[in-house]
């Protein structure tokens, strides 16, 4: 009832998987689905000229053009729309992550669904990378008040068919919201919740190579922390596992999810932009999304965790 799902679409095949999940979810919850396509990045000073995100071409973005783009969207998703009519098309000019966030905030969106296929090259040509560290996805995941479901690779299974959720934690405040969200879903669907933490053993993060004893002590401590921080809040919910592995965090979480046939990874993406600039790879979440074989959902804020 009244659940609002926003599919942020690049209107290209890169978003097909995300679209499938978004329609699937909307149907399941009888939600209001909005498909938002950010047309392009404003260029040429104050004029209404934009560089089209898909083609990289210069277009005049007036009402006519916006209508035409919406029509295009309707035709791209015509098969899905036929099966699920409660959806509207929206199209605006602007910098993609900013307009997705603006729309979600204005419309009190409950869930953003997006792919990772935004054409980064095009955004870079337009010279707007200064506003975004990494991809549109990272910027949206970081700032959105609602959960952001990211479909990186064609998912093996979808919402509803979920039997195993991995909650990856770094024990941050943002991870608290991700945990509550994961727990709510696990309760609702009645599936197993894996609480997972990875000890980072990369030498440049710690002063020297760590001894195995040290690592094992850290694993023990992390497990204790999980019990204190999360298990105490689960009350009667018993369908869970606690696992702590050592390695490179994004690799470990992807491996863990794969080995346990997980259907969904829940985590918080809250790295500061200035920190992201330092790492060549971008955030952990970006790497997880690109590598995991299941969808990843990012939750940073408590605002919307009970609404799905």
């Amino acid at each position: 009832m009244g659940t609002k799902i926003l599919l942020a679409s690049t209107a290209s095949p890169a978003c097909d998987d995300a679209a499938r999940v978004a329609f699937d979810l909307a149907k399941r919850y009888n939600a209001n689905l909005t498909i938002l396509h950010v047309i392009g990045i404003p260029v040429r000073g104050f004029s209404n000229t934009v560089i089209d995100i898909r083609t990289g071409e210069e277009v005049v973005c007036d009402d006519d053009y916006i209508e035409w783009v919406k029509e295009e969207l309707r035709s791209i998703y015509s098969i899905q729309i036929e099966q699920y009519k409660n959806c509207i098309m929206e199209s605006v000019p602007g910098v993609p992550h900013r307009e997705i966030l603006r729309f979600a905030r204005k419309n009190n969106t409950d869930l953003i669904v997006m792919g990772t296929g935004a054409k980064k090259e095009c955004i870079e040509t337009a010279g707007y990378t200064r506003y975004v560290s990494g991809s549109t996805m990272q910027a949206v995941a970081k700032a959105a008040r609602c959960p952001v479901l990211i479909i990186g690779r064609p998912a093996a299974s979808f919402w509803g068919g979920i039997s195993k959720i991995v909650f990856g934690t770094d024990f941050s405040k943002a991870a608290d919201s991700a945990f509550m969200f994961a727990l709510n879903i696990a309760r609702k669907i009645g599936c197993r919740l894996y609480i997972f933490h990875a000890i980072n053993i990369l030498p440049f993060d710690s002063e020297k190579i760590q001894l195995q004893d040290e690592i094992e002590d850290k694993i023990k401590a992390a497990k204790e922390k999980i019990r204190k921080k999360y298990v105490t809040r689960m009350k009667d919910f018993k369908n869970y596992n606690i696992d702590v592995w050592e390695g490179v965090p994004y690799v470990e979480i992807v491996k863990f999810a794969r080995e346990n046939y997980s259907d969904l990874i829940v985590m918080a993406h809250h790295a500061r932009d200035s920190d992201l600039n330092k790492t060549r790879l971008g955030s952990t979440i970006e790497q997880v999304v690109l590598r995991a074989s299941c969808p990843v959902i990012s939750v940073n804020h408590p605002d919307k965790i009970g609404d799905l």
């Binding site: 040429r44 000073g45 004029s47 009402d63 506003y131 405040k173 500061r272 200035s274």
Partner: protein
């Protein structure tokens, strides 16, 4: 009198009229109508009688056609020294001719004047530096733009821009509500990373009232967040006004004198209402020129000064770094060669070149000047509204060559450009010529290198 429905002598004052213009793709109908637009000679004579004063009359008369201004004009240099691009020729053949003929000119003449006033001059005022008589052709072109505007001969985007200011008191369709909401939004977005950060709205008696360029709230409000972070780190007592927050003036570029006055009066009213000690404007060149340099005269302020002391962002940064309000982490200084784009509007026309050099001395290890630089720097190639006018895109792109060569000669791959217009032109320059440069405002560069005091860091358990 033949007046078009879109192209006419009446400024845009209603949303409906503005919409009608916006739906006319690339101004096709507008420019078609312009060909039929009749010149109202009596009106032109009247406006000349009222506004063409001794300074301009003298300038027009005393020009001896020596041609010393020729090499000062980037358009002249970029167009193989085409004599039709010599500044004195450009102004004598338009404004000079119009005055000589006492306003007795036809439609074709006015369209020619428009094409030169907007398509061959960015009002960068560089030529005056080289004129032995000190004739300021940029100022005369601004005046000519005003005459053209009054007769309806103004590029489509400029007519829209002037309309935006008249309707929204901003160069884009941002209402006060939109603006206030955007400030709330940006504060909310940064609360996790910057505990205690606020964007104070309409706070009385603050030390700083901060004003912006409407493109920031419209498309990249991160700029506002970055300004807030830097004020926050510097411990400033600052505020933004809910009304009168927009400093830019497309009305100035359009030659819409009435619109210019309305716009600056909105900003001055905010200054007086909130009783701030001083005003700081975002990284925008023409906003500073319009509001701080020209504005007081438009608003009829006898002092020739804004109601409170006004600073460009570069001046605030210089002060914050000098006094230690902001500290740079020496390890994070820019190591690579870096150059600085002197914006005509606050460097040449307001004398702030020292502030820019001071900032660069704190943040860069290998700062390289363009040649020439400071008040002698060339226009970015997109000033005076040229960036946004589709009709003159070809001319604009050709003119960018001069800036391209200046940047290439420095060997720097990074250009700091604290001016929206210059930033745009350099962005477009890379798109056209692909010389492999990056460009940036100051704020994002500073955010990455300032020392964050321990008590302002987020506490993560």
């Amino acid at each position: 009198m033949t007046e078009g429905t879109l192209c006419n002598k009446i400024p845009v004052n209603t949303i409906e009229k503005l919409q009608a213009l916006l739906t006319d793709k690339r101004g096709q109908v507008y420019y078609k109508e312009m060909k039929q637009l009749e010149v109202d000679t009596p009106a032109l004579v009247k406006i000349l009688q009222n506004t063409l004063k001794s300074r301009l009359k003298t300038w027009l008369k005393i020009c001896v056609h020596c041609g010393l201004c020729a090499d000062s004009c980037f358009f002249y240099l970029a167009n193989n020294k085409d004599p039709r691009q010599v500044p004195s020729y450009k102004i004598q053949s338009t404004l000079g001719e119009l005055v000589k003929r006492k306003g007795n000119v036809d439609n074709e003449f006015m369209r020619m004047a428009m094409d030169i006033a907007w398509g061959k001059c960015t009002c960068c005022n560089r030529c005056v530096m080289y004129c032995p008589f000190g004739i300021d052709i940029g100022v005369m072109f601004s005046y000519l733009r005003g005459l053209c505007f009054s007769q309806g001969f103004v590029p489509w985007e400029m007519k829209i821009g002037s309309g935006m200011h008249r309707i929204y008191q901003a160069q884009m369709d941002i209402t006060s509500e939109d603006w206030v909401d955007t400030c709330d939004w940006m504060a909310e977005e940064s609360e996790d990373d910057w505990p205690g950060l606020k964007i104070p709205m309409d706070k009385m008696n603050a030390d700083i009232i901060y004003t912006v360029n409407a493109r920031e709230p419209k498309y990249y409000p991160e700029d506002l967040t970055q300004a807030a972070i830097l004020f926050h780190l510097a411990g400033e007592n600052w505020t933004v006004p809910s009304e009168g927050w927009e400093e830019t003036s497309l009305a100035m570029f359009a030659g819409d004198w009435e619109g210019c006055k309305l716009q600056v009066e909105a900003v001055y009213a905010a200054m007086e209402r909130l009783k701030a000690r001083r005003m700081v404007v975002t990284e925008c060149g023409h906003a500073y020129r319009a509001t701080v340099i020209e504005g007081p005269y438009w608003a009829g302020l006898k002092s020739g000064k804004t109601p409170i002391e006004s600073f460009h962002y570069i001046e605030w940064v210089a002060e914050a770094l000098r006094t230690g309000k902001l500290k740079i982490d020496p390890a994070k200084k820019i190591k690579e060669p870096v150059t600085y784009q002197d914006s005509c509007n606050y460097i040449r026309n307001a004398g702030l070149k020292e502030a820019a050099r001071e900032v660069m001395s704190y943040i860069a290890e290998d700062f390289r000047e363009m040649e020439p630089h400071g008040e002698h720097n060339f226009c970015c190639g997109g000033g005076g509204g040229l960036n946004g006018i589709g009709r003159y895109r070809k001319q604009r792109n050709a003119g960018l060559k001069v800036k391209r060569d200046q940047i290439l000669a420095t060997g720097a791959k990074l250009v700091i450009s604290p001016c929206h217009n210059c930033w745009d032109a350099i962005r477009d320059l890379e798109e056209v010529f692909k010389i492999g440069i990056r460009w940036s405002f100051l704020k994002p560069i500073l955010i990455n290198m300032v020392v964050v005091p321990e008590h302002l860091k987020p506490k993560d358990e």
